[in-house]
Each structure stands twice: as structure tokens, then as C-alpha cells.
Subunit: 134 residues, 2 copies
């Protein structure tokens, strides 16, 4: 339970590697994929998601590649994980509206809320800077 998918694992590996590179120079996807041992085609989609929400900035064409969208101390592990895995929701209960049709009886509800909070807090306290050992 609670296992990260490959996608999430790859996402973390990839962006942590990017964070470990000089901040001012673009990094090829092919380089990242090779360095962290992830299928490049898969990593491409992951970085597209990152790009859409500004976690990374992309440059196309010759000399293109990726750089971080913000400095590595301003990007949290929570953002990275949620970018590709979706929001952290231990149970349909905690999503709110109508999802928990048994809400009256659902005594488990508050427990999941607490789990959600704790995990989010913890992941939110970790930045790429720390993870990349800079």
C-alpha cells in the first residue's frame, strides 16, 4: 500500500538529477534519462507535466533542454510527487463532495484526513536542494 508508481519514482530521480546540475545551463532529456536510468520516452512525458506547471522550464530546438523552473530550494518533494501522481488522497473519503456516500457512518474519515495532512506536511518540508545534496 501507498507505493509510488514507477512514474513517481522516475519523476523524482529525474528532477533530483536536474537539480544537481549547474542551475544556469540547460540539460538534455537524453542526458537525464541516461544518468538516472529511465526510459527516455517515459521521462519525456513526465517532464512535459513538470513543464506545464512550471516545475521545470523547457527550451526546444538545437541547444534546447530543461532547467528548473525555480531554484532548487523552492521546489518541494510534495510538488514533484503530486505533479505526476496526483494529489495525495489515502481514501475517497477525504476528497469531500459526495465521494463518501456513507459519510454519516464513516468514522474512518478523520483518520485518513490526518494521514493526508501528515504526509503532505512531511513531503512539503523537503526540497530538491536537500535531495540533490547541494
Amino acid at each position: 500500500m501507498m507505493e509510488l508508481t514507477r512514474k513517481g519514482e522516475y519523476a523524482i530521480r529525474g528532477i533530483v538529477y536536474l537539480a544537481s546540475r549547474p542551475a544556469d545551463q540547460v540539460c538534455l532529456l537524453s542526458e537525464i534519462a541516461k544518468a538516472v536510468d529511465v526510459p527516455q520516452t517515459f521521462l519525456a512525458k513526465i517532464f512535459q507535466q513538470f513543464s506545464k506547471i512550471g516545475l521545470v522550464r523547457s527550451y526546444r530546438g538545437t541547444g534546447g533542454g530543461f532547467i528548473l523552473g525555480r531554484t532548487s530550494d523552492k521546489i518541494t518533494l510534495l510538488e514533484v510527487v503530486e505533479a505526476v501522481e496526483g494529489p495525495i488522497i489515502p481514501n475517497r473519503c477525504v476528497t469531500g463532495a459526495g465521494e463518501c456516500d456513507r459519510s454519516n457512518a464513516c468514522t474512518v474519515h478523520p483518520v485518513w484526513l490526518k494521514v493526508q495532512d501528515q504526509v503532505r506536511d512531511l513531503l512539503n518540508g523537503i526540497t530538491l536542494k536537500e535531495l540533490s545534496g547541494q
Copy 2:
């Protein structure tokens, strides 16, 4: 991410219902399934898993059914969840031996360990007694 599967949801619903019933009388699977609105065939498998690890005790034949394997204050939500969803492991890293072949570089490892600990602690602190409102 971190979402419980149906199986986990059903498992909780089912055993919480059982905990809400008189402790000294066996309860039919068909009754539980109907009460918590879960396919009986699916719930059967879940309760078989419960039975194997002693979370519930089963009686076959006429007048058979299920009762809790221990009193409801001695069964935690963690046990229930792990019984059907497997151990709480946010990332292959924390499983130990060889799973994290990149362990040297894996700075994320300790974070997942912390997540694992926190979630396990929290779920371990909740008993069926509380959940069943007794």
C-alpha cells in the same frame, strides 16, 4: 497517490461492521456484505485473509459465520489495512535488501522511511473499538 483500493475500503467497512455487532454471536458473511454494501464474493476473500492471520475467527456449516479474533480494542486499523493491502511501503527503497540498487545516491530513501513510520504509527493508534463507536 496513496489511495486505498476497493479491497482495502471493503475490508475496513466489513470488519468495522463486525466489531459493531455483539461480540459473542457469530455473524453471517451475507449479513455483513449486505449491511456494508459490498459484493459478497469479494468480501469472502477478504475475510478469508482476515481469518488466516487471526483477525477474525470463522465457523463453517450451519450456524456458522464470523466473530472477531480478538476484542475490538485489540485490533488496530493498521492490522486491517496491512492484512489486505500488504505492508505500508511508500517506495521500493524502504524495503531494504537490494531493492534500491541506487542506494548510494538515494537521498530520498530516509524521507520515505519517515513517511512509513508516521503513517504506521497513526494507523496503529486507531482500534476497531473506536471506529465502531463502542
